[in-house]
């Protein structure tokens, strides 16, 4: 693996313990090495398949429908104030 674990963890917004950093540094390299077999696949001229099935564009009637109620949307958080979600400080 060509990237340090700390950089990956920072991009992924993931705190790791020292033990996890050491373990993943060891494991990720061998997993990615196994994945590099993909380079040998005869894919010249083959289009990437983002989905396994051909999807048709779908539409639905442009009509307003009731969504979640305010209190339902806030029911699963402990971080709220005056009917809003409350987040961590920006800086």
């Amino acid at each position: 693996m060509n990237e340090p674990i700390d950089k990956l963890a920072r991009i992924a917004r993931l705190n790791l313990t020292k033990e996890e950093r050491e373990l993943f540094a060891k494991q990720l390299g061998s997993i990615l090495e196994a994945f590099s077999i993909l380079a040998k696949a005869p894919t010249k001229g083959v289009e990437p398949a983002l989905h396994p099935v051909a999807l048709q564009p779908v539409r639905r009637e442009d009509k307003a429908k009731p969504g979640l109620k305010h209190e339902q949307a806030l029911a699963n958080t402990q971080h709220k104030e005056e009917g809003f979600f409350k987040g961590p400080k920006v800086k």
Binding site: I37, T43, H51, P52
Partner: protein, 429 residues
């Protein structure tokens, strides 16, 4: 039997085998066990993850609304690998035990659903879900029927996403007929899921023709437990007795399928898991002292994601990074097309593809603990191709090896879900 009988049996089984993360207490309806990554209004839904602990969805997944409309109720939420990340239902805190031998796993990731159906005297089916084999693997290990529909045949609305281009909600059942009846309720278009474009499911009449079964030679060349192989060979003999033709077919891209599957699954998983940050729902920490946005989110995610989830987030992040994206993710998508081409070619010469569902019987928890992540990923070799190609597949019990159940896998072309039911019933499952 009454609603109360089913609830009581589930409570007793749960004490012994830990099939459920949450047991509900429905007072009416026919109670159905539901994999814990399917949202159920008013009943905790965690996808087997600590980061969703305490999350009580304010809505039902489409499959749940459809079951309720037919008189079913939710019995409880079944144990699973965290977010579906595993083959044994052991990457989580509630680990279900195999009812045939509690020292062994149920398989994963829909382990609780499969174990419960195997052990229950009352239940006919449970809801399950597969990304790379999570219905078939536990069905095979527990000796029950596992039905995974064509991608897009069943709505994913209300499913806790693992990998959007791979996830399918399906069924684990006592018999193929039970699975078909459940599919008849849950399948068909849904305006909440634009990828759900398949037709409703019609329970088919008895099979009227003699089938041609294709066996991919590259799959049988994989490392398969000789006793499992023996049961599979016996199953093929059984097919021949039905007047079916058995022939070799070829899936040349088999060697690349496992890596392509994992790269796509991890890439999609790492983006799906970005939304878990302790703000709107799920486990969290105090805002005060948690630092700024980035520090707070990183802390919550570091504290509440399990080890396999972290490994997959890091790998998924890597394969999408500039500089590596084409080599891994882009190439994996092309391999998926190669595989689709291979299957199309193979199905020109056969109606259904057959293989052993899993290369091994359900391993013991001691053996699982010795596996490296890569060794665990390799256990999915036989289930991944059908999942990567969005093909419907059915695992039915086919004898025993070392006293444990073995699964026979039938795979059909996209949209031919009903043919699988006909084949499975004709086979005698």
């Amino acid at each position: 039997m009454s609603t109360a009988d089913i609830v009581q049996e589930a409570q007793e089984l749960n004490k012994k085998f830990s099939f459920f993360i949450t047991l509900a207490d429905p007072k009416d309806g026919i109670p159905v066990a539901v994999k814990d990554n399917i949202c159920t209004q008013g009943i905790q839904t965690t996808a087997g993850s600590k980061i969703l602990q305490g999350y009580v969805p304010p809505f039902d997944a489409t499959v749940i609304s459809r079951l309720k409309a037919k008189g079913y109720s939710v019995l409880g939420k079944t144990a699973m690998d965290e977010f579906g990340f595993g083959t044994f239902s052991a990457n989580t805190s509630v680990i279900p035990k195999n009812p045939h031998d509690p020292k062994r796993c149920c398989g994963g990731s829909s382990g609780g659903s499969a174990g419960y159906i195997a052990a229950s005297k009352h239940a006919r089916f449970a809801l399950a879900q597969s990304t790379g084999g999570s219905i078939s693997a536990p069905a095979a290990f527990c000796g029950v029927v596992g039905f995974t529909p064509t991608y897009g045949r069943v709505s994913r609305y209300g499913l806790v996403d693992y990998a959007n281009s791979l996830d399918k909600i399906g069924v684990i059942a006592k018999t193929v007929r039970d699975a078909a009846e459940a599919m008849g309720i849950i399948a068909g278009k849904d305006e909440h899921d634009e990828t759900c474009q398949g037709e409703p499911f019609t329970i088919p009449a008895k099979l009227a023709k003699k089938l041609t079964i294709g066996v991919p030679k590259e799959w049988l060349a994989q490392k398969i437990d000789p006793e499992v192989r023996k049961q599979f060979d016996a199953a093929l003999e059984q097919c021949k007795k039905l007047g079916w033709t058995v022939k070799d077919v070829s899936i040349p891209s088999t060697d690349y399928a496992l890596s392509a599957y994992y790269v796509i699954a991890l890439a999609e998983a790492s983006t799906n898991l970005a939304k878990y940050c302790g703000l709107r729902y799920g486990a969290t920490i105090q805002l005060e002292g948690g630092g700024d946005y980035t520090a707070f989110f990183s802390k919550v995610r570091g504290e509440f994601f399990g080890q396999e989830a972290k490994r997959r987030i890091l790998l998924g992040t890597y394969v999408r990074m500039a500089g590596y994206r084409d080599k891994y993710y882009g190439q994996a998508l092309k391999v998926r097309q190669l595989l689709l081409n291979d299957f199309a070619k193979a199905f020109r010469g056969c109606d259904i593809i057959a293989a052993p569902t899993m290369p091994i019987i359900a391993p013991t928890f001691d053996d699982i603990a010795k596996l490296s992540p890569l060794e665990e990923y390799a256990m999915d070799t036989l289930t991944v191709p059908a999942n990567l190609a969005g093909l419907p597949h059915l695992s039915v019990p086919c004898g025993r090896a070392k006293g444990m159940p073995v699964g026979l896998h039938f795979i059909a072309p996209q949209g031919k879900d009903e043919l699988l039911v006909q084949a499975g019933e004709a086979y005698g499952a």
